[in-house]
C-alpha cells in the first residue's frame, strides 16, 4: 500500500468512526442505562462502538505508517475531507438537512483538498 493511499484510508476511516461513535452512543442513550455498571454494559454491548474502536485504531496506525514518507503539511490538511464526508453521511443516514451554504463549503474544501493532494 502506498503512503498516500494509507493517509486517504486513514482520513476516511476516522470520518466513518465519528459517525459510528455518534450512532453507537445515541443507541446507548436510548436504552437509558441506570448506574455506572449498566452504562458500561450498554456501551460494551454496542457493536457500533466496537466498530468505532476498530476504525479508530486502524486509522491511527495507517496515519503513522503513511506519514513516515510524506510531508506533514501535505497529509494534515487532507483531514478536512472528513468534514465533507461527515456532511454527506449525515445527510444520507441521519437525514440532516444540508443547506446551500454547506454544499458550497463542501465544494470549496474539496477544491482545496484536490490542490493539496496534487502537491507532493
Amino acid at each position: 500500500m502506498s503512503p498516500k493511499l494509507m493517509i486517504w484510508i486513514s482520513v476516511l476511516l476516522s470520518a466513518v468512526a465519528q459517525i459510528l461513535l455518534k450512532q453507537g452512543l445515541s443507541n446507548v442513550q436510548k436504552r437509558n442505562p441506570k448506574g455506572l455498571f449498566a452504562l458500561g454494559l450498554a456501551i460494551v454491548s454496542q457493536w457500533l462502538i466496537w466498530l468505532w474502536g476498530f476504525c479508530f485504531v486502524a486509522a491511527m496506525g495507517l496515519w503513522l505508517v503513511g506519514l513516515q514518507k510524506l510531508d506533514l503539511s501535505y497529509a494534515y490538511p487532507l483531514v478536512s475531507i472528513g468534514y465533507v464526508l461527515v456532511t454527506l453521511l449525515s445527510a444520507v443516514f441521519f437525514h440532516e438537512r444540508v443547506d446551500r451554504h454547506r454544499w458550497l463549503a463542501v465544494a470549496v474544501i474539496c477544491l482545496g483538498v484536490t490542490l493539496i493532494a496534487g502537491s507532493q
Binding site: S73, S80, A105, A107, I109, C110, L115
Partner: protein, 157 residues
C-alpha cells in the same frame, strides 16, 4: 455532589495535598473559559502532530520483513511518537471542553487555523517546501470551513 465530597476530604487531609488540589481546581477553572480551552486545544493538537512527525522523521528502520502490525508497534514505541499522541489526545480533551461551552459552528472555523499553523510549523521545523499550490489548497480549506459554518452563526447572532 462530587465537589462537596472532595472538599470534605480536602480539609481533613494534610497540608501538602492542598497545593496540588488547588492547582488542579485552578486548571479546571481556567479551562472553564471557552477561549482558554480552545487555545489549549489548538496548541496541543498542533504540537502533538508536530511531535509525532518529528518522531517519525528520526525513526530507525523496522527490521526487514516486519508485518504492518509490527511496523505500527515499532512506531508506537518511539518516545516522540507516543508522547505526541498523548499531547494530541489532551488537545482533543481541551477541544471537548471548549465545545461544551461555545457553539461548535463558531469553534470549527477558528479551529481551521490549525491547518495554517501546522503548515507554517512544518515549513520552519522540518524544512518542508510549501508550494504555491499547497498554500492555495490550505487557504481554500480554511475558507471552506468558514463558509460551512456561516449560516448557522448568523442564525445564532
Amino acid at each position: 455532589m462530587p465537589t462537596n465530597l472532595q472538599e470534605e476530604t480536602w480539609t481533613a487531609e494534610a497540608a501538602p495535598e492542598l497545593t496540588g488540589e488547588r492547582a488542579g481546581r485552578g486548571m479546571a477553572q481556567l479551562l472553564g473559559r471557552w477561549w482558554v480551552a480552545f487555545a489549549a486545544s489548538a496548541v496541543f493538537v498542533v504540537s502533538g502532530h508536530l511531535l509525532i512527525k518529528a518522531g517519525l522523521n528520526s525513526l530507525t528502520a523496522a527490521p526487514p520483513g516486519t508485518g504492518v502490525a509490527g511496523r505500527i508497534l515499532h512506531l508506537l514505541l518511539q518516545p516522540a511518537v507516543a508522547g505526541g499522541l498523548m499531547v494530541y489526545v489532551s488537545g482533543t480533551v481541551c477541544w471537548m471542553r471548549a465545545v461544551s461551552q461555545k457553539e461548535i459552528s463558531f469553534l470549527y472555523p477558528l479551529s481551521s487555523l490549525n491547518y495554517v499553523l501546522v503548515a507554517a510549523a512544518s515549513m520552519i521545523i522540518f524544512h518542508e517546501v510549501i508550494s504555491p499550490r499547497r498554500a492555495a489548497g490550505v487557504l481554500l480549506v480554511v475558507t471552506g470551513m468558514i463558509l460551512m459554518n456561516r449560516r448557522s452563526r448568523e442564525r445564532a447572532a
